[in-house]
Structures are given as structure tokens and as C-alpha cells.
Subunit: 360 residues, 2 copies
Amino acid sequence: MPSDAGGGRAVAERTVADLSERDLVARIQERLPSPPPWLVVGIGDDAAVVEPARNRLDVLTVDAIVEGVHFDRRFTPPAAIGHRALAVNLSDLAAMGAAPRLALVSLALPERLPLADFDALIGGLVALAARERVHVVGGNLTRSPGPLVVDITATGTVKRRGVLTRAGARPGDALYVSGTIGAAAAGLLLLRDGLLPADSRLSDDSPLTDADSRLTDDSRLATGYCFPSPRVRLGVLVSRNRAATACMDLSDGLGDAVRQVAEGSGVGAVVDAGTLPIDPAARRVFESRGADAVNAAVGGGDDYELLLAVGPRRRRAFEAAARLSGVPVTRIGTCTPERVVRLRRDAVEAELPRGYQHFR
Amino acid sequence: MPSDAGGGRAVAERTVADLSERDLVARIQERLPSPPPWLVVGIGDDAAVVEPARNRLDVLTVDAIVEGVHFDRRFTPPAAIGHRALAVNLSDLAAMGAAPRLALVSLALPERLPLADFDALIGGLVALAARERVHVVGGNLTRSPGPLVVDITATGTVKRRGVLTRAGARPGDALYVSGTIGAAAAGLLLLRDGLLPADSRLSDDSPLTDADSRLTDDSRLATGYCFPSPRVRLGVLVSRNRAATACMDLSDGLGDAVRQVAEGSGVGAVVDAGTLPIDPAARRVFESRGADAVNAAVGGGDDYELLLAVGPRRRRAFEAAARLSGVPVTRIGTCTPERVVRLRRDAVEAELPRGYQHFR
């Protein structure tokens, strides 16, 4: 239960500026499960101290989401902000084949942020952490004179021979993508148009998932944008049976991911438009707005799916790992020796649309 | 040398928005030394992969500095922003007794940030990283619609029996502080009053240190505020010979640190005002403004010194470690069984002034 420190007013009326840093940290600690045995020193000292995992490499990633750049508080519920901030990092770990382990949470909080929103943000973050067995071992809180910034560092572990990089794809390898594409971009369009992100349950501590059967198509897209499911289990299983030669997540869109893997591996790629697993509801959203669904889905970001390159002899092993993970995978193309990245569509080849650009 | 990608204009006229994320990352990578043998995958993939250090625990910390909260770009040179952002994290590692190892750098950049300032910020950060043998293994870049935010995660390693926490002090332990106190608070006062932070050399890649003999007293204080020297070697040496029962850094001031160590250890403390190593020039700055030097030095933040508790039988071992580190240490008080924290001054005891509060 949230602590009552920091003033007598109801939580609903208070802002984070009504509480001390220590009281805000206490509100986070109260939500955390009991510490894992490898945690030697947790929240409350100058730094966290952990035992390394035996016979594993450490994998480390950091990703920030910034109000006005990565989310809009007018239509992203606070629980979704916390969930997304952790999810983007878990997606990076999944893309390396790593099992997630711990997170450090650094928050820059506008003084007027309602305390209820702070609690909901932490609730969304902690709920995903619990689901994926990630322990929050430390962090930092500061005021922000501008946007809300949620900056998360996550670490995971992987066996040396199971590391998945962007650099191992070879000509002839098949390219697969997990789940569907375009759903997040379509969900964002709907939210920007004023669709409310499903219902009030989204702002409590047990957010809906994008597979929730209670949702309409539009609500499912909006909810999927807000609460992406990083493909942690798929990444770990593919790493374990060494079924992929390269892997990357789709944070900046499929077009970007194919380019990066091709460049990292020194190969080219041809993607077959007809095979792309574009979310059917997303396709309707794009087409109802006069947009080309393939371009929108390939160029749109925020689909936290995985792109994987798989050698000719490992396809069955790969598909077995995917089945075990419960996430559908679709073959969308092939790596080529010519170092160009193309989209084949109705027998015509053209440049693959680019993904999201953070700068420029 | 900085890359020329991103437009033909001179560096002096360009802003970070003129470059792509990839080009900005390339500008950072160009400054980094060759990767250490334990780095399996560095910058450029979804996450970094590292080999854990053998027979060591991992220590992890994150700290953000935010424009308008922790620094003012009007008088903090860009190189100092980069230096400080890393220094505050290295200070946290030092306070745990850990030898620093790697850093992840997450930057939220205002679009109008001059590219020359970006380069100088990275220069200040990389120079300190090289000096302290910290390798930058990854990070994140994003736009900021508001302040410049530099959020750094640093990790280090420590032997299990050498971990220094806030929790081990016992009644009768001596309290020591490294270096001097008050210098950073006085330096900040001078900068706010319009003193320029030393000279133009501050914004190049080889910043002055606070001990530089070319500086006047005022310039030394201002420079010390801008370029703090975290007590990495002292922390490591004290950890190695197990000479302290508790340790914490003075980021929020000595008053705050004594309280936190006392609370963490379940003891009290009495600090003797007459022994406090207040920087003589800082004392003059405080007194010339009519402030009480003891209160100002004890309450002022940003002195990245260490507070250490040392058991009666370990004082010689502790002082030997301090001598070896080259950092002077001063005994300032004693831990007590009564759980109150007092300042003794001219035979009168009063509450110890509090340190800096981030919220409220």
C-alpha cells in the first residue's frame, strides 16, 4: 500500500512535489517483490551490488522515453508509460538472446505530475517487471523543469555461444519476423485521433494485454501500442538452441531493422511484400486513411517484435523454438550476397521503406 | 577527429538536429579508446555484452543530471556537464569500494544544442572515463523538447568482503571525510555571481583539475565545482584493506551523509565543527557574503568526497590506505550509541545542518 508520508491531502490531489525524494522511493520499494538471492545490496545505498550469474555473459542496455518525443501524456495512460519504458529495454535484451535480470530506473519528474500518475507509472513498470522476472535494484529520482523522462537500464544474461548480434547473417539465410507488424503505428494513429486507450482498467496496476478478448479491434491496437509485449521468451529460446544467425528488434520499424541487420552482417536482403504479417485491423486503419498499408507497416515504429536471420539447416530448430515460445513467426524474405535491401511487390522490386528517425 | 557527416556547414554553426542519430553516435565512438578484452559486443548492437569479472561482485548505479536542476548552461561549460555526469556516478561506485568498469550514456538533447557543445560534452565525459579507466559500452540518444539531460549508468566490481555500505558503522567508530568541504558550494556561488569558470581551456578536451596551480582561489573553486574528482582510488584502497565499516559520498552534503550513515547503521554521531576541513577560500566566500561557513559547508552539496566510518582498530590501516591514495582525510567526529546526529561547536551541541533536498 502506498505510504501516507508527505502530507494529509488525498493522493488524488497531490503532486510528486508534495513528497520528499525518500518518500517517493519508499512508494516504489513498497511495490517490489522480495529481493532475489543474487541481490547483495539493493535500493537505499550509493549503488546496488549483485552476484554475477555463473557461466554467463552480462548484457546491458539503456533506453529513455521522453514526453513529447516518445509518448504524449494526453493519450498515454501513466501505467503504459511505465510499462513501455521497461518493455523497450526488455525488447533489446530479447534481441540479444538474453534472459532479463535487473533494472535501474531513472526518473525525471515534472513537479506538477500528479502523485496518482506517479503511482500508476510505477505500477505499470512493476507489473511488467514481475511478469518477466526482472528485479528493480536501484535508480534515481530528480525533478524535471520540462518533460517527464523515464530512463531505464536493464541487464540480462546469456551464454557465450548463444549471443545474438546483428552481424551473423549470411547470404541464403531466411528472414523471419515475430508476431505482426503495423499494429503499434495504427494504434498510435487511433490514439492521436482521440480514441481513448481502451478503458479505465488501463490505468490500474493490472493492465490489459493486446490479446485481451474483451477489446474491439481499435481498442486492441491502441492497447497494443500502449502495452507492447517484448519477445523475451522467443529471444531466449532461439539463443538456447542457436537457431538464428542474427537478430534485432523492430523498435524503429521493420524497414530499419532489415537495413541494420544487412549492414551489420555485410549482406543484402529481399523482403517479399506478400508475406508480411501486417495486422489485419491495422491494415484497415491505414487503408481507411488512404495510406499504403505495406509502406505504413514497414516504416512504422514501436512494434517490439524480433527480426531474425536463420540459416538453411536451422529452420526446423528455429520454428520449434518459436512454437515453444507461443509467438507466431513468419518468413518474410531472404538474405542476398548483393548488399542492397529491396522490397519485392507484385514482381517489382523497389527500395525497402525506411523506419523511424529520431533525429532529422 | 569528428566526422564530417551531416551537412557542409562548419561545426561552430551546426546543432545536433543537423545530424542523424547514427552520425552523433559515430562522433562518440571516434573518441573512445580501443575496447577492453572483456567487452564482447560494444556500441552498435541492441545491447552491450560483457564478460563478468572473476571472483567479484558487480556494482551498479545510475544518476542523471538535468539542465535547470543540476546545472545551468549559462555558466557550466559543456565539457563540465559531461565530466560531472560521469563523476557523480564514479563517486557512487567509490562509496561502495568498487573499481569502476563501464558506463552507459543516455542523452536527451535539445534540438538547438550546438554541435560544438555536444562534442565538448562528450569530450569532458570521455576524458574522465579514460582517466579512471571506465569504458563507454553503450547508450541512447534522443531529442528533448525541454532541458538537456545526461543520464549515466556506471558499473564497477568489488570483492564480496570489500563491499562498503552505509550500514556497518558501530558506536565508537571514527568518522572521517576526504579532501575538503564547502568548495563546490562556494564555487557555485561564484559562478552564479557571474564569475567565468576559469578560462577557455575549460571547454576543450583536457579540462583543468581543481588542483591546477595556474588558477586563482576563486577560479579554483569554480573549476572544482565544474570538474569534481571522484575519490575512486581512495574507495578502492579502503575496500581492499577492509579499513572502513561504512562509507557514503557527499553528493548531497556532509550533513546529509552523516545522517544517512547513522540511520543506515542504527547509530548516532557527533561531529566536531572545529575539525571540519572547510576549504579556506570557500570559507572566505561564505563569510564575505555574511553566511556561517560551517553551516554553508556542512549543508552545501556537490562535494564529491567520501564520508567513512572506521573502527578503533582499523585507524592505522585506514590512514595508510588514504596516504596511498594521495587524498587527505580528516577525522571529524565519532559514532555514538544514542541515535541522534549532532554538531559540537564551542562546547555547545546542536542539530547537524541538513544537506541538499532534491524535492521539497
